[in-house]
Each structure stands twice: as structure tokens, then as C-alpha cells.
């Protein structure tokens, strides 16, 4: 994240700034995703249609259910819409899907931002012929006085 931030601010070339931006946004996405992981044994939250657990490691999951990052709770409000079935699965056995979902959205936003930024960059290149920030600022100042 810091690399990205540094890149955005201190690099002169516009494309490099955008690369920095991408790194920055990806870092945040990774952060959220990392939150979703509860333990090494947590599985993807898809229940087979016959309703009982598929993973043999689920017994282990009970024992290590408190080993979270940052000591935070993240299983209460996240997903209680359990499918009604003969056996209610243990939430600790599954990775939290909500951050994943949120990050899908964030990825889309990031893509859109990047696309827009590249389009603007193209326009700038067409109009000014350079992508170096300091040269651009000079030309813009010349425009202002012209």
C-alpha cells in the first residue's frame, strides 16, 4: 500500500502514477480479503445440496475457531441467512463471503477508475505530447498565460 502511495505521489510519469494507484487499490482489496480468512481450514462457503459437511477437516475448525487476525469478531452479522436444512453448518468452517463480495465491487470500481484514468492519459498525450508531469505543468502554465 505504501509503495503504491509513494508511486502515486512522487513519480513524474503519469503512467507510473497509475501503476502506483493500481498497487494501492489492490493492497486494500487484499486487506479485505485477508479479513475473510478465519483459519487455514476454512472452506469456501458452498454447501453441497445434500446438506451435510463435505470437508473432513471441519473438526479441526472447531478447535481453532478463535484464531483470527486482529482478534476481531466477524462472524455475527456477516452471514446468518443459513439455508434451512437438517443440519446447520458451523460458520467457523467457512470463509466469510461478505468481504469477497464487497471486493468484487471494489475491483470493478478500480477497473473503472483505471480505465477512465487511461482514457484521460491518452487525451493528455494527444493534446500535449508528453506524459511527464513537470513538462505538463509547464505547458499548462503557458496555456494559462496565453
Amino acid at each position: 500500500m505504501m509503495i503504491g502511495l509513494w508511486g502515486m505521489i512522487s513519480k513524474n510519469n503519469l503512467i507510473k502514477k497509475l501503476i502506483g494507484m493500481s498497487i494501492f487499490q489492490t493492497a486494500i482489496i487484499l486487506f479485505y480479503v485477508s479479513v475473510a480468512v478465519k483459519s487455514e481450514t476454512a472452506n469456501i462457503p458452498i454447501l453441497p445440496h445434500h446438506g451435510h459437511d463435505y470437508s473432513p477437516k471441519i473438526a479441526l475448525a472447531h478447535a481453532v475457531s478463535d484464531d483470527h487476525e486482529n482478534g476481531g469478531h466477524d462472524d455475527h452479522a456477516g452471514h446468518q441467512a443459513h439455508p434451512v436444512g437438517p443440519k446447520i453448518p458451523d460458520p467457523d468452517g467457512y470463509a466469510n463471503p461478505l468481504p469477497h463480495v464487497l471486493m468484487l465491487t471494489a475491483i470493478v470500481v478500480g477497473v473503472a477508475t483505471l480505465g477512465l484514468a487511461l482514457a484521460i492519459t491518452q487525451k493528455i498525450y494527444r493534446e500535449y505530447g508528453t506524459l511527464e508531469e513537470d513538462q505538463l505543468l509547464e505547458k499548462v502554465r503557458a496555456d494559462d498565460h496565453g
Partner: protein, 526 residues
């Protein structure tokens, strides 16, 4: 239909945007009418929503998207839209400003971005959708999404202008993305600690589980706030604003300038009051002291920088930075420990009322001024102040509206600007923050200098070097009157009238805000 009003006010313009983008490619003339219809619908629904809010017993209207409502599903699952007295008024303002800006844009779009009407108006509509969504949502992540929607559309709208605008848009994009990303990160921390994304839900859990002391929550607060401050151009995170607003195409400036920063101020208030709660914000953190001082610096810096500007729109942009200082300062006036002393938020919250009122008031003032300045630039052929000579003769109605806007910025009664200052200064006196009151007064005086300089240029025209014998010179007729066309004048006049109306009705608006603050003080509802 009416019970879906909170959602329809966003959905209709959204659909309009889609239609505009598609149909407009074939029939360009449809774009503007579609836009206007979209905004009229938005205005209509936001008014209905507000009426529902004020009629309801607890003064809020809750709408869960897709029916995932709180009674059947725990909070945090569905996306909740909650309208209370604060954002209800803001929704109306956004819709009205968008409508007026759209009407105004007719001449400018054909001048500055010819041939791109479908894309332009589609983005215009989406911008408004994003802004309204930010205002109405009660879900922290949804806020991020809509924040980016409105930000991206605004970057694009600015970049559609001249080549300088592209560079300004790029810089804005970088800064804005940093801001939004910080916000997202902060929300992530909150999610880790509380497991909820719903604003009220987060609040309940923070209080209920005693999480307010935790460092993670503090970091979350910090990150969210830095992000929001970038978006609202709080000095010194405001470097992107002057370029972006002054180089944008005229019509774009007219919708972005009044709204983006103000909605961001609203977000700040919402985070402070609903998500974290006043006890935390004012008692736990002792930020009030430094915050007000930074706000003072923002106000003074914005005003002084505005003095040095030769370009009219850049001057206004720096004034926006100062106005943001008013609002942020006002929100943080409440002295630390005030809540603990048993004072209710209501009785000592004149500063907050001032901030809330100023959101509305500043949106109107900025709109009026940007509209007027846009019209003046067309007439004068340039955006430099010294080229504004003799405009009073040429376009008196435009100039009259400019004068009303100027008086509002200076703070002359009965315009709304006077009352904002009244509440903010009263709040400063109540809280014992003399420096804030002094900054506001200095800002009024600087505004007076700034605006009268422009009015002088426009009023006096070309000054001759020699006076004739009778002690006053015979004036030559400098050309007749060529007033601006109705598409420009109508929104402008309406905006000026609004300035006075908002001023005269300040008691009602302040009353709504006080009621809102009361609800917050009581810990929020449900």
C-alpha cells in the same frame, strides 16, 4: 409508487442516463430533455420523501433495498436507505441544483463539448445519482461505491473540456482515488471490529460492545476522516480543487462545485454523528481544539489566496476552500467534555446547526455564483476579472443575480449567507472559540473586498483619463444591452431567489436540523 420514493429518486435519473447514452447516439436532441425530465422526477421524489420524513413520528424514513428489511434479517445484511431530516433536505438541494445546472448547460455544452451530448448528459445524470445515493445510504460500503460513482463521473465530466482540463482531471483523479481508498480502508477496519457495514449497526455494536477505546477503531476513524477530508477539500488537502473547478467546462463546474464538497461535508457529519456518535467524537477524542484551528487556517488561507487570483473562477474555487473551512470548523466547535457535563447536544450545538445550514446555503450560493460567472464569462469573452468591464450595462439581470450571490457570500441579511454566519459565529461564542468567530468575520470582510472589486469593474466600465470641465464626464454609450438567453437566465434568477428564500426560512431549516440533532443525541433510533 410513493412508498418507493426514496429509491425512485435515484432510479429515474439512472434510467434516464441509460436512455440518454443509448438513444442519444441516434437522436442528439433528446439528451437535454431526458436529463431535465430525470431531474424533475428526482426533485419530485425527493420532495415527497422529505414530506414523508417530516410527517413520520420519528422523523425518518427507512427503506431497505430489495426488501431485506431489518425485521426479518439482521441489520447489516440488506442495504438500507435512511432518510432523516438532515439528508432529506440535502436530497432536495441536490436535485434542484442538478436541475438548474442542466437547464443552464444548454448553451455551454454546444459551445464547449460539441457532439458529445449523449455522453455528457449521461455522465451528468449519473453524477447526480451518485450524489443522491451518497446522501441517502445508510450503509458504509454502499457509500464508497456511490462515492466512486460520483467521483468517476466528475473526473470524466471535467476531462471532457479543454486540454488543461484533462490535466486537472488527472490530478483530481489521483487525489480523489487516494481519498476514497482511505475511506474504504477505514471502513474495512470498522468491519473487522464490528462485523457490520450498516451505519446504525456499526454504531450500536461499537457502543454495545464497548469498542470505542480500541486502537483499531481509532485508526478507522482517522483513515475515514482523512479520506473524507481529501474529498471535501479541507486545507491543506485541497490542492486539487482550484485547478479542477476553474478549468472544467462551464456547465460541469456548475453542478460539481455546489455539490461535491458539500455532500462530502454531509458524509463527515453522518460519520461523526451516526456511525461514531457524538460521545465518541467529542469526548473521547480531543480533536476539537486542533480541528477548529486548522479550520481557521483553512478559512484565512482560502480567503487570502482568493485575493491574489486574476481569474474569476479560480477565485471562486479558493473561496470554496474557505467555505469548507467554515463547515468543518462549525462541526467541531463542541468543546471536549461537553457531553460528559450533561449538556445535551441540542443546547450547545449551534455550530452543528450552522454547519448543516451552511451545507444548504453554500450549495445555493456556489450555484448562483458559478451560474452568474459562467454567464458573465460568455459576455465578457474572458474569465479574467479585469475583462469584466461594463457588464452592468450589457447584462443587468445577470449582474443583479451576481450581486445577490456576492451579498450572500459577504453575509448581508436577508440572504442565507448572513444566517449561516450568524449560527456559526453564535456557536463559536457559545463554545468560547473566539478565533473561529474572528476568522469568519475576516472572511466576510475579504469577501466584501473581492466581490466589490468585481462589481466595480462591471459597474464602472472603461474609465477615461481626463475629466471634463464640469467635474463629471459625459459618458459615451458603450453599446446597448445584450442580455443572456433565457436558458441561462432562468436558472440564475431562480438560484438568486433561492438564496433569499433560504435566508428567510432559516428558522424552519434550523428547526429541522435541531430536531435531527436531538434524535442523534438520544442515541439514534432502531
Amino acid at each position: 409508487m410513493v412508498e418507493h420514493a426514496p429509491v425512485l429518486l435515484m432510479v429515474v435519473p439512472l434510467l434516464a442516463a441509460v436512455f440518454c447514452a443509448l438513444l442519444g447516439l441516434r437522436w442528439k436532441a433528446l439528451c437535454l430533455p431526458l436529463t431535465i425530465i430525470g431531474f424533475i422526477a428526482a426533485l419530485y421524489f425527493s420532495v415527497i420523501t422529505f414530506l414523508q420524513v417530516s410527517a413520520s413520528s420519528d422523523h425518518q424514513v427507512i427503506y431497505f433495498l430489495g426488501g431485506w428489511n431489518a425485521s426479518e434479517f439482521p441489520r447489516g445484511v440488506g442495504i438500507e436507505y435512511r432518510v432523516d431530516l438532515l439528508n432529506g433536505m440535502l436530497l432536495i438541494v441536490i436535485a434542484a441544483v442538478a436541475l438548474l445546472a442542466a437547464i443552464f448547460s444548454k448553451q455551454f455544452v454546444s459551445m464547449e463539448t460539441p457532439g458529445k451530448e449523449p455522453q455528457y448528459y449521461a455522465l451528468f445524470l449519473l453524477l447526480a445519482v451518485g450524489l443522491m445515493g451518497m446522501t441517502i445510504t445508510a450503509d458504509a460500503f454502499n457509500l464508497y461505491v456511490l462515492l466512486e460513482v460520483s467521483s468517476l463521473t466528475s473526473y470524466a465530466l471535467i476531462a471532457m473540456g479543454s486540454r488543461r482540463a484533462s490535466v486537472a482531471a488527472f490530478q483530481y483523479l489521483i487525489m480523489g482515488t487516494i481519498g476514497a481508498s482511505f475511506y474504504l480502508l477505514g471502513v474495512g477496519y470498522l468491519y473487522i471490529k464490528t462485523g457490520s457495514l450498516n451505519m446504525q449497526g456499526i454504531h450500536d455494536i461499537l457502543i454495545g460492545e464497548g469498542l470505542l477505546e480500541s486502537p483499531a477503531v481509532y485508526v478507522a476513524f482517522l483513515l475515514i476522516f482523512v479520506g473524507v477530508w481529501i474529498k471535501l477539500a479541507f486545507f491543506p488537502l485541497s490542492t486539487w480543487l482550484p485547478n479542477a473547478y476553474s478549468r472544467a467546462p462551464t456547465a460541469t463546474g456548475c453542478i460539481i462545485a455546489p455539490l461535491m464538497t458539500k455532500v462530502s461535508v454531509y458524509i463527515m457529519l453522518r460519520i461523526m454523528l451516526t456511525v461514531f456518535g457524538p460521545e465518541y467524537v467529542y469526548d473521547e477524542l480531543s480533536w476539537s481544539g486542533p480541528m477548529v484551528w486548522i479550520a481557521v487556517v483553512a478559512i484565512i488561507a482560502g480567503s487570502i489566496l482568493a485575493l491574489g487570483q486574476k481569474d474569476l473562477r479560480r477565485m471562486l474555487s479558493y473561496l470554496i476552500i474557505a467555505e469548507v473551512g467554515y463547515m468543518v470548523g462549525g462541526a467541531w466547535l463542541l468543546a471536549p467534555g461537553g457531553m460528559a457535563r450533561g449538556e445535551s447536544l441540542y443546547s450547545t450545538a449551534t455550530g452543528l446547526v450552522g454547519t448543516g445550514y451552511h451545507i444548504i446555503s453554500d450549495a445555493a450560493m456556489t450555484l448562483c455564483l458559478f451560474l452568474a460567472v459562467g454567464a458573465m464569462i460568455v459576455k465578457a469573452g474572458s474569465s479574467r476579472i479585469e475583462d469584466m468591464k461594463g457588464l452592468f450595462r450589457k447584462c443587468p439581470v445577470t449582474m443583479a443575480c451576481f450581486v445577490v450571490g456576492a451579498l450572500a457570500m459577504i453575509g448581508v441579511p436577508p440572504t442565507c449567507g448572513f444566517f449561516s454566519k450568524w449560527y456559526l459565529i453564535s456557536g463559536a461564542f457559545e463554545a468560547g472559540r473566539w478565533e473561529f468567530a474572528a476568522a469568519l468575520i475576516i472572511s466576510s470582510l475579504v469577501n466584501a473586498v473581492l466581490f466589490f472589486r468585481i462589481i466595480e469593474f462591471a459597474y464602472f466600465g472603461k474609465l477615461p483619463e481626463v475629466d471634463d470641465a464640469h467635474g463629471h464626464h459625459q459618458r459615451h454609450d458603450e453599446g446597448g444591452m445584450e442580455e443572456n438567453p433565457p436558458s441561462m437566465l432562468v436558472p440564475l434568477v431562480l438560484a438568486s431567489v433561492a438564496l433569499i428564500a433560504i435566508g428567510l426560512f432559516n428558522k424552519e431549516i434550523a428547526g429541522y436540523l435541531s430536531q435531527f440533532l436531538n434524535t442523534v443525541a438520544m442515541g439514534g433510533q432502531g
